[in-house]
Symmetry: C2
């Protein structure tokens, strides 16, 4: 089997132990804060049956997905309780109905009357109303009782509850603010539930969540389920928010040094934006990580060494602007691991994971599915 | 067969006729300017045998690739003259040698002594020295005769010539400046050739090129081959540089409207950064196209309507900041096509092309290969 010294590069590396610990920590935290709240992990980052098998120890708990493809793949692998947690095109309702006929209890989401009317004629399709709790993205304003009630009425028996995603929490970096955002999300979802119930629409599901608020939640009163996804792998954006120590980042891109320019304080690796993604999610954070933070092949972060520039298949590594010191004396052929800004985006550039568990040995290759 | 009204979205759409015309125009222009110069198109954007078959009418001309995977795939499909035009890790030399043993005449590139020494012990591996002609990326300074000579000497009989990529041309947008950049690239490559020949190293190959300079080249004296890639599909970055009218962009992402917010002047489509890529290559140009320019499903651009924000699977469309007018009254279920900032990056987010030819009818599905 391969080791990190022999894998063809660039290669997506997943540390199994780190991911399993991330999963256990979030599960245990939610269980301690709110034991009655269902945990519904989001698999849009993983997109892999093998990863799900590892994370759930072979179990088939409730999950969240972001695409029909994920619903189909995880459904075929035995997951039977799936929330398709993104707005959906009316053209996809037939495919969702087909999954339900196969025994997969898939729930969908909408935030508008046009889709609610389409859903009402599409048979048995439990549907949540997406709420806007922080002005961050799609969704009905959580306190707009008239619109909520109109959509619930149009959904008729398919109306199953409400969901939110506290996307605004991604702009925070303080534990108190994150806890407040979590509380606010729960409270606002509960407000929407109350408005709907007052109008005569029973609201059995109240689904909230995000990775930043996951470890910060204190009070989940009125909430029935919690979702989070990227926490499984972690990334530099989550690190910048303050919810993920570097040692908890399970995902990295293995690369090889292909040129050194000590006189310019730069070196070039064979991982560019094609392998790292174009995501620059840390560019607005206190610490800009460029296209990723550089580590030795054993995972040791190299302080201020980042990928300062990315071409299609080449990354330029150097010191973070303003940093003191010198670039280490890399040699052509050296192996490095790059921690990603955004795990979802970086993983999506690859067709499979090379799996390690704290050492140099590659213990498995796990396939991903991309696309729709 | 599908039409653009029935394809599951998001979907990558390639207009065959536009791509074929782009190829014919570049080939004819180069043939008229410099009939003796070999044209070696870069297939890192296409990454598809079916696309290559279309572009070359089944022929197997010299090509350029950016990854070993591309070399292997195109080699297996019968291409026998391949330039692997990126710096290469020493660990990959054995795989390159294996391709050569299969009869694929693959040439590699380096810019440093460490790799040159590795190449010298790896058998028959023709190698070009990468030149830096504009300070844009890797490469030996074109006028650094001492380093050029040292690398050529280390390569020994594997030394085959020099190559450049005028990456600096991507920052230009004026035809005169582009022509000057093209002239400069050719002249500087010729300088390097002269320095090497004066030191006793015959330099049979002088390979230059880029899409921005492709249509601008006037004088290719001293050049033996010209490379360009993204011109085949075109994109908004090339449009911003001034080398690609919108009507020449062959690639788009088909999406469906899943929510409308007329009171906010926004609508949401089911194509986010996963389908469009995170590439924001137009952000530094005179016209920032957001995450892409919105067109009707027949390809008609909608003026100032762009993708103003992208989540993983959702794009928010609205008017370009500062634009006058109103967003068209989109309806849930409407089909739109998004022109990409960067064709290489957007295409890489997809596993296949849905092929059209100027109409709504989908005439084929062509597979892509991604990865390394």
């Amino acid at each position: 089997m391969h080791s990190l010294a022999t894998l063809p590069t660039p290669a997506l590396v997943l540390d199994r132990g780190i991911a399993a610990r991330n999963m256990a920590r979030m599960r245990d935290h939610l269980a301690s804060v709110a034991p009655a709240v269902r945990f519904r992990p989001h698999l849009k980052t993983a997109k892999s049956i093998a990863v799900a098998d590892m994370l759930f120890d072979g179990g088939r708990p409730p999950i969240t997905v972001s695409t029909l493809r994920e619903a189909e793949e995880f459904g075929a692998a035995g997951f039977t309780d799936i929330l398709y947690a993104g707005g959906i095109a009316p053209q996809k309702l037939a495919a969702v109905a087909a999954l339900r006929r196969q025994g997969i209890n898939i729930t969908i989401v909408t935030d508008n009357l046009a889709m609610a009317q389409a859903v009402s004629t599409a048979g048995d399709l439990p549907t949540l109303i997406e709420l806007d709790v922080d002005g961050h993205r799609a969704g009905v304003a959580f306190d707009d009782g008239a619109t909520l009630t109109a959509i619930a009425a149009a959904l008729g028996p398919n109306f199953a509850g409400v969901m939110t995603h506290a996307g605004g929490s991604y702009a925070l970096s303080d534990a108190q603010e994150l806890a407040a955002a979590a509380d606010q999300e729960a409270a606002r979802a509960a407000t929407a539930r109350r408005l709907l119930e007052q109008a005569g629409h029973a609201c059995p599901i109240v689904s909230i969540g995000s990775t930043p608020t996951g470890n910060a939640v204190r009070d989940l009163s009125g909430v029935t389920e919690f979702r989070a996804g990227v926490f499984m792998f972690g990334d530099l954006v989550m690190h910048g928010i303050g919810v993920c120590p570097l040692a908890d980042i399970a995902l990295s891109v293995l690369a090889t040094v292909i040129g050194t320019y000590p006189e310019r304080g730069l070196a070039i690796i064979d991982a560019g934006w094609m392998a790292l993604s174009r995501d620059r999610g840390t560019s607005g954070q206190a610490v800009d990580q460029g296209y990723g933070l550089v580590c030795l092949s054993d995972g040791t972060p190299l302080g201020d060494v980042i990928v300062v520039q990315a071409n299609q298949e080449h990354g330029v590594i150097g010191l973070r602007p303003g940093a003191n010191g010198q670039l280490p004396a890399f040699q052509v052929g050296d192996r490095l691991r790059i921690l990603p800004n955004h795990a979802c985006a970086t993983a999506a550039q690859h067709g499979h994971y090379w799996v390690v568990d704290g050492t140099d040995s590659v213990i498995a290759r796990w396939e991903r599915f991309n696309g729709w």
